[in-house]
């Protein structure tokens, strides 16, 4: 028991310190910018953070809202985190999310007259398949041509935006809508499980976390993924096939991000607009880094950021602090995590490094090489 507690402490201490420092920086920004809102106010951060906490965890509805916001973050966070474990930097969660959302929409619209028992599973599967395909492409390119996934996934994000725009404003545009969007999804709409809008997608995220943990730490494939991530040469020497592991890992990442997209459209939005504005791709990177690329860590990080998104509205209403403060806090948390070495030295933290640095080294070192695996 004591050993377990010690382990939790050693894993959680740096993220906790980073979050604490970020809240301080956020407070300083609020105080400095308070003259723009209506006079210098030292207590503004307290009002703001209180509203943020109440909006995130203060009531049953707030909690459900936090879970709903956390769902895509956890799924897409896993999509980035598993990539890290395989030595891949998946900046393409955004594109995989969009293509997953689009595929699910296409099937859901086609099955609008069918029974939900048919439409829901098929739409979700379509979303997974779409995301998988969008993850497969950069994985394949990386493995067999050496094109670095950081660049190809960024490019594919923008290609995905254009494809969504074409399909939704063209063939799939609804009959009686005022702007470019599809008709409402009827049969494929995910059922509400708890509260006002706690849809089935929550369950998907809840299942994905242990599934990802099992895949990474209890399955042979997971062992191979982690070995390739830590050292592709050793993996090849051990008889593994780094090329196909890379393709597989990237496809799994795509599948998870695609699931997130499908869940959002089928559970939250109910239709697909031609320009679906989302920052889930970059948020997912933040989630995966704060969660140290571990499924359980990603769950907590997703809940934290989901809570911040859920509470941001109340913060804007009660304290006049724009919701964008949440992005600022996210970035500052990441900053302190990235500057880990310095934070450790200044605060004299002795906890062992449990970060994703080892895997990341493979990622950015390979950027200039572009060699095939």
């Amino acid at each position: 028991m004591r050993a377990a507690l010690e382990r939790v402490r050693s894993v959680a201490v740096l993220p906790a310190v980073a979050i604490g420092l970020a809240l301080v920086v956020g407070a300083v920004i609020m105080i400095l910018s308070s003259p723009l809102v209506g006079g210098f106010d030292l207590t503004l951060p307290l009002t703001a953070y209180q509203a943020l906490a109440v909006g995130a965890f203060g009531s049953g509805n707030a909690l459900v809202s936090t879970l709903v916001n956390a769902t895509p973050l956890v799924l897409a966070g896993l999509a980035v985190g598993i990539g890290f474990k395989a030595g891949l930097f998946n900046i393409g969660a955004q594109g995989q999310f969009l293509i997953g959302a689009l595929s699910a929409t296409i099937v859901a619209i086609a099955l609008n007259g069918a029974s939900p028992a048919v439409a829901i599973p098929l739409s979700l599967l379509a979303g997974m398949a779409g995301g998988l395909a969008w993850g497969f492409v950069p994985g394949f390119l990386k493995a067999f041509t050496g094109a670095h996934e950081v660049v190809t996934t960024i490019m594919l994000n923008f290609v995905a935006i254009q494809i969504v725009s074409y399909v939704i404003s063209g063939p799939l545009r609804g009959a009686e809508v005022t702007f470019a969007r599809t008709d409402n999804i009827v049969a494929g709409e995910l059922p509400i499980l708890i509260g006002r809008d706690g849809h089935l997608g929550l369950l998907l995220a809840a299942v994905a976390v242990p599934a990802a943990w099992w895949l990474l730490y209890r399955s042979t494939i997971g062992f191979e993924i982690r070995t390739v991530g830590a050292n592709p040469d050793a993996a090849r020497y051990g008889g593994m096939q780094p090329k196909w592991i890379t393709v597989l890992a990237m496809s799994v990442c795509g599948l998870l991000a695609g699931t997130a997209g499908a869940g959002e459209i089928l559970g939250e939005v109910g239709y697909m607009p031609a320009s679906y504005g989302t920052t889930v791709g970059f948020d997912a990177i933040a989630v995966a880094l704060l969660g140290r690329a571990h499924p359980v860590g990603i769950l907590f990080a997703g809940l934290l950021f989901g809570g911040m998104q859920a509470g941001a509205g109340l913060m804007q209403v009660q304290a006049g602090i724009p919701v964008q403060m949440v992005s600022v806090l996210q970035a500052v948390i990441l900053f302190f995590l990235a500057a880990e070495l310095i934070v450790r030295r200044v605060l004299r933290i002795r906890a062992p490094g449990t970060g994703v640095e080892a895997e990341l080294e493979t990622v950015s070192r390979s950027y200039g090489e572009q060699t095939s695996l």
Binding site: G146, I154, A331, A339, R365, G368
Partner: protein, 355 residues
């Protein structure tokens, strides 16, 4: 002429060429204007990546600079006299806006340099941090400020070419769209040429290439790798600053949240497609925005006949996706090959420290 157009396939190709040549004078200014921030962003990436530092935070640097340029010019316009020198619409508030934007982008670059070089943090994470932070802080401040609806300080004006030049056949419109631009556009043209020459013909260029390709070898001949990387990364911020300022005080005169809209990432693509050289990146930027120009032209004035049917059958979004698809193809080595500087992405560690 019609006889040529009727040849199967080739005839349509010839029609296409004729159509493009006819449409070019109309869309050329749009293409050049759209290419300017992308080329400037690519110059920022060039300075970073050539010396061995990945920068995917160009987007965030540009967004920060765009906001700072607009806000500080607006503040300055309320304090200092709105005097100008009568050329290119240059006024004191705008110069203040431009200067602070460049300084802001340099400051952000300095953070990127510190994280990437001194802390030896992952450079892609550092870029990600910059992008998220920029969206957050500019959106945050913009919302707070917009309640007071600050006055715009106006924008720089394009260079008026003598009428004689514009009337030059064939080249007139090209000159007009390339040189008939504002001060930031002109700066971009000059920097592309200067950087290209410096890269291959100067001591700085040789040293930068050495540090980007093989830092250890560079250090053994007495080049201070750390210092050169710092200098180049922070210097690269100047171009990101110009790119951002272009959007809010030259091309337009207002700021909107997330207005860079992916230009920083197209800049990265242009840098790769241009094989990490300034002139190449500028050419790529023009090619990419030409794709947008073609889309506009087809939308508003589609060609007639067979060609028109073919071109309008292609979804317009295809032209928007084209730059990214081309970049993937080039990176995958399907057509030609674009190779990054060998040491890009690796933090440098001195021997003495590693021991």
């Amino acid at each position: 002429m019609d006889a040529i157009f009727d040849i199967p396939v080739i005839g349509v190709l010839i029609q296409f060429v004729v159509y493009v040549i006819a449409a070019l004078p109309v869309v050329a200014p749009t293409i050049a204007a759209a290419a300017t921030p992308i080329a400037l962003g690519a110059m920022c990436g060039f300075m970073n990546e050539r010396s061995g530092v990945v920068n995917i935070g160009i987007e965030g640097m540009m967004l920060t600079a765009a906001f700072v340029a607009w806000w500080s010019a607006s503040l300055a316009a309320q304090v200092v006299p709105n005097v100008g020198i009568g050329v290119l619409g240059i006024t004191l508030p705008l110069v203040i806006g431009l200067t602070t934007a460049i300084l802001a982008a340099m400051a952000v670059s300095a953070v990127h340099a510190w994280l990437s070089i001194t802390v030896r943090a992952d450079q892609i994470i550092s870029g990600t941090i910059i992008n998220i932070f920029a969206v957050g802080i500019t959106g945050y401040l913009n919302l707070l400020i917009s309640k007071q609806s600050p006055p715009s300080a106006g924008q720089f004006q394009p260079l008026q070419l003598p009428g004689v030049l514009e009337d030059v056949p064939v080249l007139g419109f090209l000159l007009d769209s390339l040189i008939g631009v504002g001060p930031i556009g002109l700066t971009m043209l000059i920097s592309v040429i200067v950087l290209q020459v410096l890269l291959f013909r100067s001591r700085w260029g040789l040293r930068t290439r050495a540090v980007g390709e093989h830092p250890k070898a560079a250090e053994t001949v007495g080049i201070d790798v750390i210092r050169l990387r710092y200098r180049n990364v922070i210097g690269g911020g100047v171009f990101a600053g110009l790119a951002g300022a272009y959007l809010t005080i030259e091309f337009g005169s207002a700021f909107q949240g997330e207005m860079t809209a992916g230009r920083g990432f197209i800049a990265l693509a242009a840098l790769i497609f241009g094989r990490w050289t300034p002139v190449g990146a500028f050419g790529a930027a023009l090619l990419f925005t030409a794709s947008i120009g073609l889309e506009r032209s087809i939308r508003f004035a589609p060609p007639e006949g067979q060609l028109g049917e073919w071109l309008t059958a292609v979804p317009l979004q295809f032209y928007g996706a084209l730059p990214y698809l081309i970049t993937i193809i080039v990176l995958a080595g399907v057509v030609g090959r674009s190779l990054a500087p060998a040491a890009v992405g690796r933090p440098y560690e001195r021997e003495s420290k590693a021991a």
